[in-house]
Amino acid sequence: MSRPDEIIHQSLRLRIMAALHAAGSEPLEFGRLKALVGATDGNLGSHLSTLETAGYVHIDKDFLGKRPRTRASVTPAGSRAFRGHMDYLREIMESAGGG
C-alpha cells in the first residue's frame, strides 16, 4: 500500500505540486504559478519554501533583463513523492469502492 505524504497533502501545496508535475521539465514563473493554483504572493512563497525544504521543488532566481524572475520546478524526488501520494489517494478510492 502506498503511503500518504503529509507535506504534499495540504490543499495549496497539492495544487502547486500538481501544476509543477504537469509542467514537467518547464519551470513555471512565480506569477503564472500563482494564477494557476489560486494563491496570494505570501501564501505561494511560504508553501514553496516548505516544498523546497522537503526537496520536492527547486526555486531558481535570476533576472530577465533588469526584471527579477523567480521560477519553480519539481525535482525528481518531488515527482516521485507526488506520484506516490496520488497512488495513495487512488487506493483509498478503490478500497471505498469509488473507482
Binding site: 495544487r15 500538481a18 509542467a23 514537467g24 518547464e26 519551470p27 489517494l89 471505498a96
Partner: protein, 192 residues
C-alpha cells in the same frame, strides 16, 4: 494521517483540474508569440495587398512567409533552450508539424484557386483568412483549447463582415481586424 474517501476524491479532482489548467495554459503560452508573429505578418501582407495591384501580391507575400517561417523556427528553438516544452509552434505542435500543416493548407488553398479560377481578386484575399479561421476552430475543438475556438470564430466573423460591408478597402480591413485580431489573440494567450 487519516484521509477519508471524500477527501481523497476532492484531492484527486483538485489535481486533475490543476493538471488540465496547467497543460492548457502551457499550450497557450507556447502559441502566444507565434500568433503575435503571424498577426504582424498578416497585417503587413494584407496592407501590402491594399497598396499593390493583384498581380504583385505574390511578391508581397513571399518574403513575409519566409520571415514568418524563420521566425517560427527561432521562437521554437528559443522556447526549447529556455527549458520550455520543446521546439513547438502554435497549438503546441512541433515546428515540423506546424510547418507541414502550413504547407498542406497552402497547397489546399492553391488547389482551390486552380480549380475555381476566381475572376475577382476578392477571393484571393478572403479565402486564406476563412481557412485560417476554420483551422483555429478545428484545432481548438479537437485539442480542447477553447481560446483557439474563440479566436477562429472572431476571425471568421471579422472576415465575413469585411467581405460584406468593406469591399472597397477589404485588404486594409483584414490587415487591421484579422492581423490585429491574431496579435490580440496572442496577447490573450499569455494570460493564465
Amino acid at each position: 494521517m487519516a484521509i477519508t474517501s471524500t477527501e481523497a476524491a476532492e484531492a484527486l479532482r483538485d489535481i486533475a483540474q490543476t493538471d488540465r489548467r496547467t497543460r492548457v495554459s502551457g499550450a497557450y503560452h507556447v502559441a502566444s508569440p507565434h500568433l503575435i508573429l503571424w498577426g504582424l505578418i498578416w497585417a503587413a501582407g494584407y496592407a501590402g495587398c491594399g497598396l499593390t495591384p493583384p498581380d504583385q501580391w505574390g511578391l508581397v507575400w513571399l518574403p513575409l512567409i519566409v520571415v514568418g517561417v524563420l521566425g517560427a523556427i527561432l521562437l521554437g528553438r528559443r522556447a526549447a533552450s529556455s527549458g520550455g516544452a520543446g521546439a513547438s509552434g502554435a497549438a503546441g505542435f512541433s515546428i515540423g508539424r506546424s510547418l507541414t500543416l502550413g504547407l498542406g493548407i497552402s497547397l489546399f488553398i492553391g488547389s482551390v484557386y486552380f480549380v475555381f479560377q476566381p475572376v475577382s481578386p476578392l477571393p484571393y484575399l478572403v479565402f486564406p483568412a476563412l481557412i485560417t479561421a476554420l483551422v483555429y476552430v478545428l484545432l481548438g475543438g479537437l485539442l480542447g483549447l477553447p481560446r483557439y475556438v474563440a479566436i477562429g470564430a472572431v476571425m471568421f466573423l471579422v472576415t465575413m463582415i469585411g467581405f460584406i460591408y468593406a469591399k472597397p478597402f477589404l485588404p486594409f480591413w483584414i490587415a487591421v481586424a484579422g492581423g490585429g485580431g491574431l496579435v490580440l489573440g496572442g496577447l490573450w494567450m499569455r494570460k493564465v
